[in-house]
Symmetry: D2
Subunit: 386 residues, 4 copies
């Protein structure tokens, strides 16, 4: 993987909007982009205060600092050494405008999820990306784990037979207690005007929804949902369960919450087909449990025997050496880099295993949110998807 950019004779250039010093997601994006040596971070906008934004760039040893994302996009667009990709990691309500502008100026885009505030905005970005003919990656980071890629490949290859059940859950505990930041809305996540119509669905529901489809390769045709606040006195949603139906008769279920006291980061899927089942847990990401029908259970491991090229190409370290969240993020940047380099060097096709989540995936997540909320509003009925 270290020679992906050799053909260019330079690393790709990345500009970041949001994610300054002290931000968790900022260091994850920069670390993910640079880990494999594909990207160099050349510009950033970290604060609406020009002085603080500039200082942040200096502290991070990033060459060019800007006072706003809009200014960055405008200024960088005119440079001969302009960035190849703009990465957007600001609060949700600014994604649409920034991504719109970046596309309009001809940049490829990496954008945090949820993609936008509404499905309409998201559909607009889908159109804009198509018109601009630019690459657009949405940061559904869990798709970058090698064993998630392995599961996806096995299912695509028919190893499980026809799928019958798709379950995905995502349990966190950090909202088990109603916080002061929440009640005063000093945390933007709790302000619907900034974060969107459903905290839980936007924050982690879209992850679970997307992961289920990314791995299963199937799209539910209808759903019924329960979305609510379980913590006494809370306004924002902290809990959702969703039941789904697929056209082939399979059934699915999603359970997401951030109010499960003591839960850590329990993203997990279990998928069963006529010929076997798969189980993956984000907290032990280097293992994939495979249960072939009528045969002993297998534990597939990253770097171990029996893995597909889909898993190997996003693995960095040999068997038994754990890789984690940062590496999964790097795999999204890796796939994006591969696609950008292919564009720059005139290649016409990518590996079938290049699988970064796209703007369409991001838009699908917004439709999921709105469909689930419609089911709730109508008393818990089944609602078709699209």
């Amino acid at each position: 993987m270290t020679t992906l950019t050799s053909a260019l004779g330079r690393p790709l250039r990345l500009a970041v909007i949001g994610g300054g010093p002290g931000s968790f997601i900022g260091s994850i994006h920069r670390g993910g982009a640079t880990l494999d040596g594909h990207f160099q971070v050349v510009a950033g906008a970290f604060s609406s205060d020009p002085e603080r934004s500039r200082q942040a760039a200096i502290d991070l040893h990033i060459e060019r600092g800007y006072a706003s994302g809009a200014e960055l996009i405008d200024a960088e667009a005119g440079r001969p050494d302009r960035p190849d990709v703009i990465a957007i990691m600001t609060p949700n309500n600014s994604h649409h405008a920034l991504a719109r502008q970046a596309l309009a100026r001809g940049f490829h885009v990496m954008c945090e999820k949820p993609l936008t505030l509404t499905a309409a905005e998201a559909d607009d970005l889908v159109q804009a990306a198509r018109q601009a003919d630019r690459l657009f990656c949405v940061a559904y980071a869990y798709t970058g784990f090698p064993m998630v890629r392995q599961a996806r490949r096995m299912i695509a290859d028919g190893v499980l037979g026809e799928l019958r059940m798709v379950q995905c859950e995502y349990l966190q505990g950090h909202l088990a207690r109603v916080s002061e930041a929440e009640t005063r809305a000093t945390d933007w996540h709790f302000d619907p005007a900034v974060s969107g119509s459903s905290l839980i669905l936007g924050e982690i529901g879209t992850h679970a929804w997307h992961l289920a489809q990314f791995v299963s390769g199937m799209q539910p045709s209808a759903l019924t949902a329960e979305v609510c606040a379980t913590a006494p006195g809370r306004q924002a949603h902290d809990y959702a369960t969703v039941m789904t139906r697929y056209d082939n008769g399979a059934r699915g279920m999603i359970w997401v919450t951030q109010a499960a006291a003591g839960a850590e980061h329990g993203l997990k899927f279990r998928i069963f087909g006529t010929e076997g089942g798969l189980e993956w847990h984000q907290q032990q990401p280097n293992e994939l449990i495979y249960r072939p029908l009528d045969q002993p259970c297998q534990v597939l491991v990253k770097g171990g025997p029996g893995l597909s090229e889909a898993a190997r190409r996003v693995s960095r370290v040999v068997i038994g050496h754990p890789e984690g969240y940062q590496e999964a993020f790097a795999s999204l940047y890796h796939d994006l880099a591969e696609a950008v380099v292919a564009r720059e060097t005139g290649q016409t096709s990518l590996s079938a295993d290049n699988a970064f989540p796209t703007v369409e995936d991001g838009a699908d997540g917004m439709h999921f949110i709105e469909t689930a909320l419609r089911s709730v509003a109508e008393g818990g009925v089944w609602v078709p998807m699209r």
Copy 2:
């Protein structure tokens, strides 16, 4: 525990109906009844063929064999050394009549689940048991595990604060493939006239439903359900998901299936309250994961430090020595024995930790089945319980 029956000067006497040689559940009942030395099996009816039934009794070294349950109840009722308890482990459609008869003749009853074919039959047994003033245990065996008792006690003691989420799942895989016995209905489980209106809900749905309530101490006020067959060509239900609401605003979810290829016996609950969470998995039954809010996770173990009397009284072996399904069953018989001995010796009250599931619990399971099926029939709407 070995002296529970010393006051009587004899072990309790048990008669069993159903569960002859080769039957899984038969040996589990007999082993459960005798493991702690509380019961002696004195009579049995194992087959509708008088000769085979008698031979079965001889093979099992049981003194008296009968050609039918009805005959057994009649004949044993008149003996001076009559059994204290009649245990019924026949196909579901015979539970009601046999239990009715046993109660009418003054026996205490142990009965397999699902209790009956319909909620109406079940309610009738509740009335009959009350009128006869007899003890009636329903074999929800998972309630006998020490760490299930521990979880129940912790929640009752308020350790989790107010409960907010109750999830219970039960995944099996033996029906992943449609079998010949099923399509020809040579297995009574697939004949609704014998097993009841929903295979999956009767077989394991009632277990999950009851366990959630046994541990949480809360009864859902409404539910919405999806109940169906996922295996292509199957008639009988093999899959159900249920979403529940509780009066205090908590939410719940149940997922049961016997068609999850490769799944073993994945009965598991996760319960979260304002002050912490608990997780238990039947396949590692001697552990209970306790997640106190804002403190490190604890792994409570059977026989280990920090356990309640509720767990200790149904533990037989010291720390680290695994106890399993047979022992859980024995704990139901233990609690029943304790209650019978209390009656016989004129004690007026039992330990608060005596917790065998009752005829009311069995009837509640039947109401759960009918309510869930009503939700499905009405298009997946929310339906109140009772």
Copy 3:
């Protein structure tokens, strides 16, 4: 398995010496003997006080109580309905004499481990058993777990190729703290005259030593040992590590302790051959980790696909229903019962999978203890076995 004794027309008869009410091992032996319906406990000696012994028998609903083991053996030997087997679960220093007497009176014997106080006594019992032509089972109970039997069968069948490493560890924590019972020697385990020359080696070292051989099928040719007390102020050994060599060039290692603070009952083996490895942990006894060379790891489970008859014949409950220590004990009694019945009915051969540990295994454990202590006494040198 329920018809093992049908040919006799009666259950086998067992007399127990030691293990009265309140004794952990007493209820385990009685439960193990009766769980499968093979044995009926007909007589017992539970105390050197005649009155207490008799009362214990009454409390346990056992027909005949005696004031001593010697009296029991003498009295029962003359009865027409005399016991088939005498089970000895008294303190270690009485095993030799009681077993000697039982053999002399023609009884088959079940005896707790360590077999005796010295290797010389043990060798004497081997001779006595041969001369008496009686069956003699030593209660190395961990050999009764289905997945231990599975491991043994796989290795015997060559699944691992030639063995290269045999590791067995057994970590307990209940002696992490020096107790009052210990310093005053009110607990017989701490009195070498009663328990033998090395507490740790007798109590659990022999288990680990035997298990390694039972599963691997190989006998070390030499060892070097470290045996000591690690708890400050303790006299008795609470820790041992042993390195072993095998004739085929394989190496082995044993680690046993009862002073590992917080450890539960961590008996575990890991065995590696040229074609794969096996791992088993007593605390998750229903799983066996199988690592075939260059292929994905498998988790074999009790009752699951791919198991041998050796495992199935000592499994009672279907897949995913945990079986534990009590059931493992029952499997020793099961194998012993099968052998006794074979004798009584004139069968000449037993199943190759009948595998109860014998008096020779018990004697080998005593030689292990003495060889290990010799290595220590000589400064930690390598000492040949036998």
Copy 4:
């Protein structure tokens, strides 16, 4: 952590010797150095072929490429923008000369393990580093995991009381089969002139030895060892067990092998004291099992409640997001960077939790190897350390 180098106004500069494109350890070092933004890689020597070395630098987007480590050190020493640190990841037999030269030219050093070929060479480097007054980090990477740091801090704080047992094992399986590269010695690891006197002790024995001391804070006073080849026909050592004694009466044990068929990367320690025990497994690195005496077991997790500053300062992502081997490596570079910056900015003391392994630790590993081999040569006797 992102502002560690802000005071310098530039990232630190790193030159790397060895580890070109395709090298596993090369990308790990570069990724580790740059992940947190502390270092920029400015120069490299990747091949003894000048053209290939230059091309490698170009492919990796590294500014200056050299045909040899010696040339790099000489040339870079004279630059005004000379590197702060030289990282050496060449075969073992070149470590001593390169590190010697780097120290002589005033560079701080990061060096792979085993430090040298002999203890004498290693002692020489200790002297050289002291004389040059330069920082010297040895890449014992497992010391960088947050939960390893947590364990070390807990023990140093006395949480376990006085230590009684220190066990460390490290099981790999990639040498289960004798390879062609091995028999023809086309892999330098199998050439003692290049890799040193004991493959297994140099490759992973030193890791296990160091980790035991790093965490326990105790140094064994004597050892006895078994070191050998278990694979038939192999010359190089692939297996070692070591028993240790500590001055306070504690005992220890080490088990390392690369020939355990099917094993992955099983580095694990278990340490027990008078007040509790700790257990850590590299394959689940974000968990630390803590067993306080007489209290329930706790599972401490990276980013979770109850952690020390020692763990937090080397954690990058919030609770439940796994961090792995690459991040552990980054933590060594982080600690080294912190120390270099402190030097450059005239700070006199470092955090007590800065804990990068030093040249003295590297030398201790070489003494361990030689002492263990001496024990073997003398027939398995106990040998004092130093």
